[in-house]
Symmetry: C2
Subunit: 277 residues, 2 copies
Amino acid sequence: MRIIRKAAEFECNNGKVRGLVATMGALHEGHLTLIREAKMLCDEVVVSIFVNPLQFGPGEDFARYPRRESEDVALVESAGASVVFAPSVEDFVGLPVTFIQARGVSEHYEGAHRPGHFEGVATIVAKLFNAVRPQHAFFGLKDRQQCAVIGAMVRDLNFPVGLHFVSTVRDADGLAMSSRNAYLSPAERALAPLLFKTLKQAAASISESQSSSTAVTEILSGAAISLAKAGFEVDYLDLVDPLRFEPVINAMSDTVIVVAAKLGRTRLIDNVDIPKQ
Amino acid sequence: MRIIRKAAEFECNNGKVRGLVATMGALHEGHLTLIREAKMLCDEVVVSIFVNPLQFGPGEDFARYPRRESEDVALVESAGASVVFAPSVEDFVGLPVTFIQARGVSEHYEGAHRPGHFEGVATIVAKLFNAVRPQHAFFGLKDRQQCAVIGAMVRDLNFPVGLHFVSTVRDADGLAMSSRNAYLSPAERALAPLLFKTLKQAAASISESQSSSTAVTEILSGAAISLAKAGFEVDYLDLVDPLRFEPVINAMSDTVIVVAAKLGRTRLIDNVDIPKQ
């Protein structure tokens, strides 16, 4: 296992196929699944571990975000990656003036609730692509809007990187794995699976609604109300186009229900696909 | 001479050192000098010819910008490059949502007079870097602020590209070569060299002023007034830090006088270095 601290240490991938799994550390089974997917396609898998200050807003959890590099490095090794890229903020970010904006796709939902978040994500992912120079990069579909933003960036800026979006890994009770789940109290953790359960039920109801826009609106607001009654503070719960991340009323193609809700101090996000009827 | 129309046609530069000279066509000796510089360092020189719509504002000269591809291709070949990349706007730009902003460095001077210009430049240069994947790229110092913006972008986004900024090539009478010089009427062309002459005189006076801020201010405003009296409409004439592109009063390091001025409908820019005393 090689640990790289400075971007300049990366050599060209002479003939080898290189994959990148970009993480903020505090690795869980979701990240390890990304690494294993990358291993199947690539000769060399680089896992970046970097808590990116650019994607946290003021008052968010940058300072308390879990950091445990030695455990993470052991997990990365066990999953079969050969390189960890773990730079310091000072070395890798410095005092930048250059930022990447993906308009439209980053404006609603997470973009509206976390101003600057996707600019920070897109900028750091571009930096990682340029520093690591992977042919393939792997991201989890739990961060569904992030996948859409990175997809737009790669397409619009011609990054020579193949993107692979990997299904969300869940605990046995359905809760989407997230490094932030560690913030949940035992009572909150017991309640948290209701988020996915509610989305699944809403998705099933929408599938059965034959795309009546009145029915869809009622199903979505019903789901949000039942989460609120159970103790969630719902930021949004909506049916969206998974590429443009705009609201959908009459679905002409695949759609996704997306949700963000707080349980106490912990903000959870999740999403469920609704295939076109 | 190979002409590439689609970004996807570029192969990896297997072991070869690839250089990029990004142009909007209407090539002149300044561009050819960039190509020759590139040839000295690179095995394979790619010249992009693309009138980039993203860097023109409403009411600017996008539609009438000179386009003469077959002459340009012959000039590129004569200067020793082996590949022309000349995509269509539809193929290469499409309907993008992703843009690159270099804050600070792109805000004043050209950035203030041409809103959105540097966002368009940075975005298209990033696309060219990702599509062509050169190890080296060559830009002319006539577009001095553009060099600063691209320098900031490459540094901040970790583009694996070595930048080479090449001295301005001038006609015998001192006028900086520019594709836009073709717009000048004979009378305007006769007057145009006064721009560089005035900058050189101001630079010499500032060098002799021992950095007195009062003297610098007077020299700069005197130069702007003499250009205005001669018939130029001066957008700006100022002493700047060539990396940050902010005004400088007490020079602590190298500075540059930058100017933009219109002669009739034609907008000219130029700049002259003032080494630190």
